[in-house]
């Protein structure tokens, strides 16, 4: 029930956003699908940034361990902040890409 509430909440605000977009802002409803695809591209970018951050972080940690003998825990990478930073990187990169193409 708790989970259904969260989904209903997000579904409700999404429906409201569609209504506001179509009626108040005059956005074409038929372009909603391509908007969703654009959103998937940004999420895909986020995954790429996260993968790159994790790979680089792991490489640095293993290199520090191997070359200096100083122990750095891999669990440093186990932080939700890295996901948020990756999302931020993806949004900025996408905005830059759009600006560059406009």
């Amino acid at each position: 029930m708790d989970q259904a509430f969260l989904l209903l909440l997000a579904g409700g605000t999404s429906a409201a956003a569609v209504a506001v977009g179509a009626r108040v802002l005059g956005l074409p409803a038929r372009r909603l699908g391509s908007g969703v695809l654009r959103a998937l591209e940004v999420i895909g970018l986020c995954v790429l940034f996260l993968g790159a951050n994790l790979a680089l972080g792991l490489g640095v940690i293993l290199a520090v361990r191997g070359f200096t003998g100083y122990f750095v825990s891999v669990y440093l990478l186990d932080d939700i902040v890295l996901v948020a930073l990756s999302a931020l990187q993806a949004v900025v990169f996408e905005c830059w890409r759009r600006e560059g193409h406009s």
Binding site: Q3, L37, G44, L45, V74
Partner: protein
Amino acid sequence: MRDKRRLLRITGGIAAAAFLAAAFTPAVNFWSFWMAPPRRADAVEAIVVLGGGGVTAQGALTERSMRGAVDGILLYRKGVAPLVVFSGSAKEGGRDEARARAALARDCGLPVAAILTSSTARTTREEALRMRALLDARGIRKIMLVVDGPGMSRAVQVFERLGFLVVTDPAAGELRLGGGPEDRLNLMRQLAMESAARVYYRLAGFL
């Protein structure tokens, strides 16, 4: 260019679907259950509580570390073994986890002679090596491992590789379907970390 965008969309679609499946279905609970090793509970010579969670800057056990310590204490109280070994290192000169856990066990009434600590190991492999050095001297081979989170299977394999006979805390292999979306996402993060650790341990020849 179009192919790259298509690839990004597919990646994004998979990520979004995985997020929704992890948060709103019991998929990760089943994944966690599947990763737990099947081991029967049996009488052992020592209960080994591996490090996990550490201590706070104020020197108190974290919730996760406390959970492991309490599991070890309760198993001792049930008579599973006459000895409990707490593992857990210190962070940057702070109080070490193993001693903090041992202090808790003493406060709970466990006799000093029934408690050992190991506070220098920083990885599961190092913990196994330290335990071998510590327990070999006492002729102990059969142990029960207490591990918080999905790292049990890897820990069991590492310890068995070093010659231990390992049984696990019976509660560790249970299928737990409870928890909300946030709990499941946390569990998924732990499972992802553990999967990566398994790959690393396999490549390093520790498994």
